[in-house]
């Protein structure tokens, strides 16, 4: 929105929005599909629409006027989307005990789903100073504790669910994520609040358990920091009513943290004086089920926030992510092939110049049996260039004067869904160094506790 909206248009938007909201609230009345007076324009006649509000028709024997009166008694607050409670007593269970009598018998009956995930790796590097910057990357010769993650999830009440990921290292504890998610907002809206990984791109919001590689692509640690882009803040997302999956997400998060907002305020300790001192992120995700076996997901992301190099200097990051997944489901098969590509373009205002650089990775993973998979990944990061097109000194990575690419291949073995062994080898070619570095990892992951739900 521009700062000076011209009145008619502003009004038009307001009207459109209010109509949209009223359409959503009209669902409270949820009349049966209009039959006699079908000539009324859709926006006037409250119609049953599939998007919000309780689905049941008006309680038997209640007219819309009576319903309106009830709503008026509540000050017009129709409390859209408040989940109805199961008014009836639990159904009688023919020949069955109540599942509630068995703790954990059905998903979600215990109050807290908890799981611990242990990731450790033995590593060997040819370089004395490996360029591993990810917080969970193996980064030195010998044994590395990548993380011990405690993942906690639970429904709070009919309105919120709670999720947290607490990570223990050998020397401390950190709150990686702890946030609430709304469950009952109207109009397909959802809010997350707390400390969370932003939804920028595809990999950022995920944890090592969901990765196809032992370490994270350097694009992430270079642009966002070793922990990935996260912060305290709030996020609003909307599942649009379009016929295909389009999810629009916007978030406002704290722009500080060397490992979480590296291209923004990082560890400069600048004070927040206005919303402009926060990181704003916008994401559009679209999903296309091309066939039973083939799925395609495409995301566009943008993030903007202040950087500490001077008054009102800003950093903008634009990204796109593509995910193509082939998994036959119309016949017995363990095959899974996925192609994942992310590209990030970064633009930073620094005193007297604007620096731009480009970082990306592409990975192909092939699960060829129930227990085995192999994957390959190529990564590329360019040196930062100034407005004149020449390589400039990068205040965050002064040594990064030439491009860097890295190739990794791995082989994964899952004894069961709850344990994983992964061997990975990589050639890291940072052109500002005399020679390419080689590395090899053998990583082990163990998962115990509640069976987590997998995101797509």
């Amino acid at each position: 929105m521009s700062s000076v909206p011209r009145r008619p248009h502003g009004a038009l938007v307001a009207v459109s929005l209010s109509v949209l909201l009223s359409t959503a609230t009209a669902a409270a009345q949820d009349l049966p599909p209009p039959s006699p007076d079908a000539g009324v324009p859709a926006s006037d006649a409250p119609t049953a629409e599939p998007d919000a509000g309780p689905a049941s028709d008006l309680p038997a024997g209640l007219t819309p006027e009576e319903m309106a009166e009830i709503e008026k008694a509540f000050g017009g607050n129709t409390q859209q989307g408040v989940p109805a409670s199961t008014s009836a007593a639990p159904d009688a269970t023919p020949g069955g005990g109540l599942p509630l009598s068995i703790p954990g018998a059905t998903s979600g009956t215990n109050f807290l789903d908890m799981s611990f995930i242990l990731d450790m790796a033995a590593a060997a590097f040819t370089s004395k100073e490996p360029l591993q910057r990810g917080a969970h990357d193996p980064s030195r010769n010998g044994f590395n504790l990548q993380q011990l993650e405690l993942s906690i999830g639970s429904v709070v009440d009919p309105y919120f669910r709670f999720d947290a990921n607490i990570v223990y290292s050998q020397f401390g504890v950190e709150i990686e994520e702890a946030y609430g998610t709304t469950l009952a907002l109207p109009a397909s809206l959802q809010v997350r609040a707390g400390q969370f990984l932003t939804r920028f791109g595809r990999l950022n919001a995920t944890h090592p358990h969901a990765w196809d590689f032992v370490d994270q692509p350097f694009a992430m640690s270079r642009v966002f920091g070793g922990e990935g882009n996260r912060g305290l803040g709030v996020e609003l997302s909307w599942l649009t009513p379009l016929p295909w999956y389009v999810e629009v997400t916007g978030s406002l998060t704290d722009a500080t943290g060397e490992a979480t907002a590296r291209s923004f305020l990082s560890s400069s300790g600048d004070r927040v004086l206005s919303p402009l001192d926060l990181q704003a992120t916008g994401v559009v995700k679209q999903f296309f089920p091309l066939s039973d076996d083939l799925s395609f997901m495409w995301g566009l992301s943008g993030a903007t926030g202040p950087n500490p190099t001077g008054y009102r200097n800003r950093t903008d990051i634009f990204g796109t992510d593509l995910y193509l997944r082939y998994r036959p489901i119309t016949e017995a098969s363990n095959t899974l092939v996925s192609l994942q590509v992310e590209a990030l373009y970064r633009r930073r205002q620094v005193p007297g110049d604007v620096l731009t650089d480009f970082n990306s990775y592409a990975q192909l993973a092939w699960r060829f049996s129930q227990r085995w998979a192999t994957a390959a990944r190529y990564e590329l990061g360019t040196a930062a260039k100034g407005e004149d097109g020449q390589v400039a000194v990068d205040p965050l990575d002064p040594e990064w004067t030439k491009s860097r690419d890295r190739v990794s291949v791995n082989l994964t073995f899952w004894p069961t869904e709850f344990s994983r062994l992964r061997f990975q080898a990589a050639r890291d070619n940072a052109r500002w160094r005399d020679q390419a570095d080689y590395s090899a990892f053998l990583a082990l992951e163990l998962v115990t506790g509640a069976h987590g739900a997998h995101a797509f």
Partner: protein, 308 residues
């Protein structure tokens, strides 16, 4: 302010889309096609039913595709098997659907396992050294038409609660389905009388309810433990036992790779019987037809065993 005009146009377009009236009275989404077929039998034209998984998919391992969250967004009722069968993929979709009506604890969420006489509920504390166990009991109850009928009646009650105007219709349909299944069962049981007490080898522990109904004796499983793929030494042990006990057939669901099962069946020798993992709801198959086909396959296996 072109952008404003665009935003206004977009809002207007979305209003029109959002105001489109729902086609069917109730929009039901089920996790598995068997549940979809039962719901359709009970709801008839009063419900629009969609299954998230296909019968050819392993119900333990379904991808949580965002398009499924889209289906859930408009659902009035979500029916699932429960007993942790869908634990790896359903919860995220429920949250992602942003639909308060189908969250746990809402009348629009129905866990069908509450209507079933559960089997294999572990009497003692279990952990995953036993494999991927279901601590609430065996979730593969829809292979037994008696449990299927009970679930159908449960679905009818919930539909009646959500759409009280048509309550009588739902209950009548459920009663009719129960009667049809009971009538068919008499004939099915007659055809499969030879299975009573017959030793049978299966791939996964999906046979609990089927064995309970038909009275065969599952003597061994190709999976050493649930979710753990067969290995040579275990299969060798199963083969020895199957020959010793004169196993009548080898059972496997269509969504598992049948390489080891085929080999074992050849070596025993015993017929290999493939059970369809679910109703082909998309092609219009009914639950009764699905069970009937399963009975036909079992019968073929039984007769082949006699001849062989």
């Amino acid at each position: 302010m072109r952008s404003l005009r665009f935003v206004a146009a977009l809002c207007a377009a979305l209003c029109v889309l959002a105001a489109a009236p729902a086609l069917a009275a109730l929009n039901v989404v089920t996790t598995l096609p068997d549940l979809a077929a039962l719901t359709k039998a009970v709801g008839g034209d009063l419900v629009k039913v969609q299954s998230m998984a296909l019968g050819t998919q392993d119900p333990h391992r379904v991808d949580a595709k965002p398009s499924l969250a889209l289906a859930l967004r408009n659902a009035d009722l979500l029916v699932c098997v429960g007993l942790d069968l869908e634990v790896g993929w359903l919860p995220n979709l429920q949250t992602g659907s942003r639909n308060p009506r189908i969250q746990q604890g809402s009348p629009g969420f129905l866990n069908a396992s509450q209507f079933v006489r559960l089997l294999e509920v572990p009497p003692t504390k279990v952990d995953r050294s036993e494999g991927d166990v279901h601590p609430g009991g065996n979730p593969h109850y829809l292979y037994d038409p008696r449990q299927g009928a009970a679930v159908a009646r449960g679905i009818a009650e919930r539909l009646a609660q959500l759409d009280s105007k048509n309550a009588a219709t739902y209950r009548a349909n459920a009663a009719k389905l129960t009667a049809d299944l009971d009538a068919a069962r008499v004939e099915w049981e007659k055809r499969l009388a030879g299975l009573k007490g017959a030793p049978v080898v299966a791939f996964h522990r999906t046979t609990a309810y089927l064995a309970d109904w038909l009275g065969f004796d599952p003597i061994a499983f190709l999976e050493p433990k649930p979710g753990i793929p067969p290995n040579p030494s275990h299969v060798a042990g199963v083969l020895v036992l199957a020959r010793q006990r004169k196993a009548r057939m080898v059972l496997i669901e269509s969504y598992y790779n049948d390489r080891e099962a085929k080999m074992l069946a050849n070596m025993i020798p015993a017929p290999l019987v493939i059970l369809h993992g679910g109703t082909d709801f998309r092609a219009g198959e009914t639950y009764l037809q699905h069970i009937n086909e399963m009975v036909g396959n079992l019968e073929k296996g039984l007769n082949a065993g006699k001849g062989g």
